[in-house]
């Protein structure tokens, strides 16, 4: 039934992805040229969403901003999954051992830190910039994936098909990748979508406090931060980046919901 959210979700995500992809080769205007004289123009036929405080076209800014958001969030999810999934698989394969204990305690440790404060610390140590924002967001994705994978993998390890593979003489590493991981795929896809949308929000938040991608690379969060004082003069400057964030996050969440319903056979039958 909730598959209804698939279409709006997929459309929103598609819009953002297409905008970001197209921006690599083309944007309506060149945003590296500032035309101060044209600044803060309201939406019009020439500038669909108006111009910003430096006279740059907001459509173009949003398109490239989408790229920044997607790249930061995607790589952060990649880091989280890339480290978290193997760690979770390892912990599950070695359940009850010191390895498992160490991994889980490390997860607890990361979880115990207030994420935003640590992100700010990381960027304070290594300077502001997209790469450090990615690392800061990525670090907190690691325990999310590790914990999820471990929990689900533990229950898979008790399943008879895994026992059958062990009787077939397969080692833990091989079973982890041949049987455990593929059966976690749908769970991971859903979680990745969620972390992806959280990553976009986190990037916007970091950029908002000045710790995101460096200018002149546009970023939705920084666009919002820079437009803050202009809200009452030129509301469109603050409105559209906000809507872009809402749209991207909403789209991913809707897509995630639809994917979960679709991938979870229990829900598929119940509805």
């Amino acid at each position: 039934m909730r598959l209804r959210s698939l279409i709006p979700g997929a459309l929103l995500v598609l819009l953002v992805v297409v905008a970001a992809t197209v921006s690599i080769v083309w944007t309506p205007y060149d945003i590296t040229r500032l035309v101060i004289a044209d600044r803060l123009q309201p939406p019009s036929a020439t500038h669909w969403l108006g111009t910003d405080q430096y006279g740059r076209d907001i459509v173009s800014m949003l398109m490239i901003g989408a790229r920044t958001s997607l790249v930061v969030a995607l790589v952060a999810v990649g880091i989280g999954a890339g480290l978290g999934v193997p760690l979770g698989l390892l912990a599950a394969a070695r359940r009850g051992t010191l390895v498992d204990e160490a991994i889980m305690r490390m997860n607890d440790l990361v979880f115990a830190f207030p994420a935003l404060v640590i992100a700010i610390m990381i960027t304070a140590v290594y300077g502001a910039g997209a790469v450090n924002a990615i690392i800061a967001i990525g670090i907190f994705n690691v325990p999310v994936f590790a914990r999820l994978v471990r929990g689900a993998a533990l229950s898979l390890w008790t399943r008879e098909f895994v026992l059958a593979a062990r009787v077939a003489g397969k080692g833990t590493a091989r079973i982890s990748f041949e049987h455990v991981l593929p059966n976690l795929a749908s769970l991971l896809v859903v979680q990745a979508t969620i972390q992806f949308s959280l990553g976009i929000l986190a990037e916007a938040g970091l950029a908002y406090v000045g710790l995101g991608a460096s200018p002149p690379t546009p970023s939705w969060g920084r666009m919002l931060a820079e437009s803050q004082t202009l809200v009452s003069i030129a509301p469109h400057v603050a409105l559209f980046p906000g809507l872009a964030i809402v749209g991207a996050v909403l789209g991913l969440n809707l897509l995630g919901d639809a994917l979960r319903d679709w991938l979870d056979p229990r829900l598929r039958h119940a509805r």
Partner: protein, 497 residues
């Protein structure tokens, strides 16, 4: 030659007295809430460089022997008058009598000796120690007379003593200066809600003209939006250094507010690391200067507030020489210069930006302007601490934007180890002459020469003089229009009905 400066407060006092009486009849407000962007780390003006300290305590809580007036002129304060010896190496100050510190102890020559010697001590943490290092010794002549003997002749001493870092302290209170400052000013410290505000109240035992306000609150709001909202909502009465020039137009169109645009001592420059690499070549520096369009920066970053400058000197200073045209925008010339210097196919430079809006916004605009002539920049936004570490101390930068807010600081170009690394023997000689020169005409001439020298050498690209963009409730009067030093002098502030 003997110069005597006399205090002339009498006339002003009489006028203000009548004003106060009439104000009392209308029961005008006697409290004020003033917005500030940064919270001071502590309230000891002699123990840190943070401008926010002086913005609260200067002239309000603490006073020095001399002080800056609203126009930047040096005026007598705790020193009623002073005399300079012929050779310019001995200053004798006659102190105000009947001055009490807020803790009740009396101010006298011993306090002067203590305060200055403390600033000069081996383990002193005074940020402006270099300003006072010329003082060889402090000689107490009698209770209210004190002499300062200098190592080198100097005409700058009364000016240097006017700085917030040279205020007079009470020996008994120095340990708690950071959190509970005790001075001689018309206001005494009441409380500090850290992270939110500092409250001052009127000091009843003030020796001079009493303040017209009973209470003053300094509230710290770093977010420009929040500052705007707080002003609009009436939570603040004034914001003398309003952080978002783009909002001023809204205040201007609102009868509740008065917008005051004045000048500051802040020369905003695009500093260039001239030690080595392409920027050691004056042609490249000139090319950069000519690639820049100052007016576009002023419009784009500061929404039109600011005066273009062509050298490192404040335009409101009588000694200012207008050299803006010398480096007027000419991108063709810039390209030609770059080609000549061997950078025809482009150049990549780092641009490190500290937090203020002039730097962050100006940086983005400058990056776009430089791109027009084939110079690409890697922008890096830094916190102040990082900026100090990397740029100021580490000299690890090509370009940076910063506003030099210290008054009369052209002498920084005489320091070869200063962060932009300008090592010029001629200029250093010029400054040495200036330091010992006491004749005003010659001083002005020397300053003009210095300004031309650094403009010709294009040590840095000079952008604009930072404007003081203040907003206040329309009925609030008496705030400084300009900012000769970083201060919010409340002695004359009052409400009109």
């Amino acid at each position: 030659m003997t110069v005597t400066v006399k205090a002339a407060h009498a006339a002003a006092s009489a006028a203000l007295l009548t004003l106060m009486l009439s104000a009392g009849a209308h029961a005008a407000r006697t409290d004020v809430t003033i917005g500030m962007v940064l919270e001071p780390p502590n309230l000891d003006p002699t123990g840190g460089a943070a401008a926010a300290i002086d913005e609260i305590v200067y002239a309000n809580v603490f006073e020095g022997l001399t002080r800056f007036g609203p126009d930047g002129a040096v005026e007598p304060a705790l020193a009623a008058s002073w005399e300079v010896s012929e050779d310019g190496r001995r200053y004798v100050f006659t102190l105000q009598e009947n001055v009490d510190f807020h803790d009740g102890s009396e101010f006298d020559a011993e306090d002067v000796k203590f305060s200055i010697e403390r600033a000069l001590a081996e383990d002193s943490t005074n940020a402006q120690k270099p300003l006072l290092e010329n003082i060889a010794d402090v000689e107490v002549i009698d209770t209210f007379t004190v002499a300062l003997n200098l190592a080198e002749p100097s005409g700058d001493l009364p000016f240097n003593l006017a700085w917030g870092d040279a205020v007079m302290l009470d020996a008994a209170s120095v340990d708690t200066l950071a959190t509970a400052p005790v001075g001689t000013g018309p206001f005494r410290f009441d409380r500090w809600v850290q992270g939110d505000r500092v409250e001052l109240v009127k000091f009843d035992g003030y020796w001079g003209e009493p303040a017209q306000l009973d209470k003053a609150v300094f509230k710290f709001i770093s977010e420009p939006t929040a500052a705007f909202a707080a002003m609009m909502a009436g939570d603040l009465d004034a914001f003398p250094n309003f952080p978002a020039p783009e909002n001023l137009v809204q205040f201007e169109s609102d009868a509740r507010f008065a917008v005051v645009v004045g000048s500051t001592e802040g020369e905003t420059i695009l500093a260039m690391n001239g030690r080595e690499g392409p920027l050691a070549d004056v042609r490249v520096r000139r090319a950069i200067a000519r690639a820049i369009d100052r007016q576009e920066i002023i419009d784009g970053a500061m929404y039109g507030y600011g005066t273009p400058i062509g050298t490192h000197f404040a335009p409101h200073n009588p000694a200012y020489v207008d050299l803006v045209e010398q480096s007027a925008t000419d991108r063709d010339a810039a390209k030609a210069l770059l080609k000549e210097a061997g950078h025809a196919d482009g150049l990549v430079l780092s641009l490190k930006l500290p937090p203020p809006a002039y730097a962050r916004r100006g940086g983005e605009i400058i990056a776009a302007q430089l791109r027009e002539v084939g110079i690409d920049t890697d922008i890096e936004n830094l916190e102040w601490a990082q900026w100090l570490e990397q740029v100021f101390k580490g000299h690890d930068f090509d370009l940076t934007i910063v506003s030099h807010t210290e008054p009369m600081d052209i002498n920084i170009y005489a320091r070869p180890d200063y962060y932009f690394g300008y090592d010029d023997a001629d200029f250093q000689a010029l400054m040495a002459d200036f330091a010992v020169e006491t004749d005003d005409a010659t001083r002005t001439e020397l300053l003009g020469e210095a300004q031309r020298r650094i403009a010709d050498e294009q040590v840095n690209a000079y952008l604009f003089q930072l404007a003081k963009t203040g907003v206040a409730a329309a009925a609030l009067k008496g705030l400084w229009e300009n900012s000769p030093t970083q201060a919010n002098d409340l002695t004359r502030v009052h409400w009109e009905d």
